[in-house]
Symmetry: C2
């Protein structure tokens, strides 16, 4: 990819992705779109290949600026996250569905070969995960929140636009990515990141799920590996649904706490379990994930808790 | 239902529905929306309970007129049909997804209890039907055309808006409804209606599928029965997906031709089979449909070919 567009470039995943993209040989232009792009906080904005477009990606003027030169690769990461979208239904609809659709429709109208569009979808599309000990990547979707409903709708749209040939899309269903910065972003799975940060820093942490709570874990570095990999897969290898469930490392909170303790010894912080029923229900009952199709396409999880911690809380 | 809104009221299904609604006791107002509503062709427009709103249901002015008095029941039938939507992708997106979403969002904002919204979805959501001899109503969806993709997206949206409480929706997946008037409407299954009309009228018919082609059949009267039934089911009986696959009578074209011959004897027209591979593929390989959940909710197909013909080509 020579000319890349990244929406949500100022976000947690976006920043990680942009920095890795700038290390890719052959990259000529990177258009970074986000509502705010602060050159103080984001030193990579000064790279001469980066063109910053600050604004709502849904706004026609922003879109026009962002697409002034047709990109050959697009990473669409911008979204209104789960709990915020649930609190602001019109906002969630506007960003996660309507603006997303408008971006892709505009891309489909551009001249030249269709751009590879990598879309950050979410495991929220499944709704309640099965209570069985294992889950397959073909699990039917039944979103429980508007966020997941809009993500699923967008996946279907991207597959249809790809079938028509206007874009060449691929939706990646992302698990919770760790370790996000502590500021509240509206992600319900924030406790996973908070746990890693606090205990690794030797601080105490009051955990809203118990030690047996089981979740899917992926470091930012691993997520970026997968996003970059998604950009390079030949279209002929993609099934018509154009959806990939990323493999994810399944581990209990207790196992993660133990791995941190082994890594940091006496310097690791102590955890105080005070399980909250709702958090446990939504984020603490994940089955083991089987994703053989995703693995055959070359997608990977972190491999183990040691690697996860090394990459997530270096 | 006292105050009902019908979009696509001038269409084949819409006209049948409106005429039956006007026979329902207690109906006080029926707002009929369609791009064109011709009082010459549609005598029921003169019923004092009918308020005609001619215009694109997507246009804000039309919406405002249509919703001047909050309805307690909505039948959303308006769509750009399959092959037209495929030829006009922006048009299909605008009508089948965006305008549909706008209508429901406006409904969700109205004061009072949520309106029951009955949405005419389509079996196009499935894409290629399984080659097995039988198919279950829980068949996963994998739309092959934009029409089906947009219908599936709208189903997901309606379920989410219903979960939030703004509307009280139910998507019915309709099979091809017979016997449509001969004018081309963009429905790929038009040959089913043409076959019934021609042979019943004693005319010859060149059939684009062979006698072994198997399809799902439903008369307009049966379809309207199901639409009215959908309006009356208590919300507590509906699953969270808020989707029902209507039962459908499965029969081969040869069986239908034989039933017409038995009914009309020597006056029945002759059929000349000239199978077209694509039509066979899309509309001639339907498995037998099992829809026990829909049947448990009280939805029905025509019951048999005699009843189908009696109701479809009286």
């Amino acid at each position: 990819m020579k000319r890349v567009l990244v929406t949500g470039a100022g976000g947690f995943v976006g920043q990680g992705l942009v920095q890795r993209l700038l290390q890719q040989p052959g990259l000529e232009q990177l258009v970074a779109v986000d509502r705010q792009l602060d050159a103080q906080a984001l030193p990579w904005l000064r790279d001469r290949r980066v063109r910053a477009v600050a604004g709502d990606f849904a706004a026609p003027a922003t879109l026009q600026q962002a697409l002034a030169q047709p990109p050959d690769g697009v990473f669409h990461l911008a979204s209104l996250p789960g709990s915020r979208a649930e609190a602001l239904p019109d906002g969630g609809m506007a960003v996660n569905l309507l603006a997303t659709a408008a971006l892709w429709q505009r891309l489909a109208e551009l001249p030249g070969p269709p751009a590879r569009v990598v879309f950050a979808s979410s495991i929220a599309v499944y709704g309640a995960l099965p209570m069985e000990p294992a889950m397959h990547e073909d699990q039917p979707t039944q979103p429980l929140l508007s966020y997941g409903a809009h993500k699923r709708m967008a996946e279907i749209l991207l597959a249809d636009l790809s079938r028509r040939g206007g874009v060449d899309g691929l939706s990646l269903r992302l698990p919770g990515i760790v370790a996000r910065p502590p500021s509240p972003t509206g992600h319900g799975s924030a406790f996973m990141s908070d746990l890693l940060h606090r205990l690794s820093a030797g601080e105490a942490y009051v955990c809203p799920v118990g030690p047996d709570a089981r979740a899917w874990w992926m470091s930012l570095a691993c997520c970026v590996d997968n996003l970059l990999h998604a950009a390079a897969i030949p279209p002929a290898r993609l099934a018509p649904a154009r959806v990939v469930q990323l493999p994810a490392l399944t581990a209990t909170v207790g196992e993660v706490v133990q791995a941190i303790a082994q890594r940091h010894g006496a310097r690791a912080g102590r955890v105080d379990y005070r399980p909250d029923a709702q958090t446990e229900q939504h984020f603490g009952r994940f089955p083991v994930l089987h994703a053989p199709q995703a693995e055959a396409l070359g997608f990977r999880h972190d491999g183990g808790l040691d690697a996860l911690l090394r990459r997530a809380v270096p």
